[in-house]
Amino acid sequence: MAERTLDCLGEACPVPLVKTQKALEEMAVGDVLIVNIDHSCAMKNIPDWARSVGHGVEIEEVGEGEWDIIIQKMK
């Protein structure tokens, strides 16, 4: 089970979502992707998309205006 971090700090929609989708395509089932974001819309559209395709999602606030979205690829 691999873990990968994707730095999307300073990037606005829809860039973080598209990068997340691309990164997950390259990963194997069970792998974990940690996306660093500081754009609050990405905190909604990335988890919304990931849950809609069935991945496991958790959000962690790491600082003021900064979050990690932790996604486990499920299929």
Binding site: G10, E11, P14, V15, D38, I59, E64, G65
Partner: protein
């Protein structure tokens, strides 16, 4: 790590920290937009004053904007604090600041690359040109036009989607 479904949210978390649902946001927008029409008699707009500010900027550099047809009306009589659209524009910025401070999420973001700067400036210029050619942005020419049953809102919507489709392909190809 928090599990959103199990944890009971405090009042502050539920209303100021966590984002509102699209439905709650939409209902608030409608209430505010209707209130604006009731109080001021005019529908919500955003980009109109930008043209005036541009004209004022030209005048700083000695260009007589008032003598040009584009600015023939408005620029001489314009008063920032008496112009409703300018006031609502200021309100958007102050309101966004207030919301982000209440959520304790204020952050000055770093620029990631020159490519990102170019994309932002190019996008801003294109949006500015588009908003002036269409005599309004997605607020004045779409959000305020559709409830008024104005046909130009539907024309705007069609080309707005086409522009967004082209723009997102450009974003994917050149700026990511």
């Amino acid at each position: 790590m928090q599990n959103e479904t199990e944890k009971k949210l405090s009042f502050w978390e539920a209303y100021f920290k966590k984002e509102w649902s699209y439905t709650a946001g939409g209902v608030m927008l409608v209430i505010l937009a209707v209130s604006l029409v009731v109080v001021t008699g005019k529908a919500w707009g955003v980009t109109g004053p930008f043209a005036v500010w541009g004209g004022k900027l030209f005048e700083l550099f000695g260009v007589s904007a008032e003598s040009l047809n584009f600015w023939a009306e408005g620029i001489a009589t314009y008063d920032f604090f008496k112009d409703i659209v300018s006031m609502t524009d200021l309100g958007i910025v102050l309101g966004a600041l207030l919301a982000v401070l209440l959520a304790a999420s204020f952050k000055i973001k770093k620029m990631k690359s020159w490519r990102q700067v170019v994309a932002a400036v190019l996008g801003g210029v294109l949006m500015g040109i588009g908003a002036r050619l269409a005599l309004g942005c997605n607020i004045g020419s779409l959000f305020s036009a559709l409830p008024a049953f104005s046909l130009h809102g539907w024309a705007f919507l069609l080309f707005f989607f086409l522009g967004a489709a082209v723009g997102s392909q450009m974003l994917k190809r050149y700026f990511m």
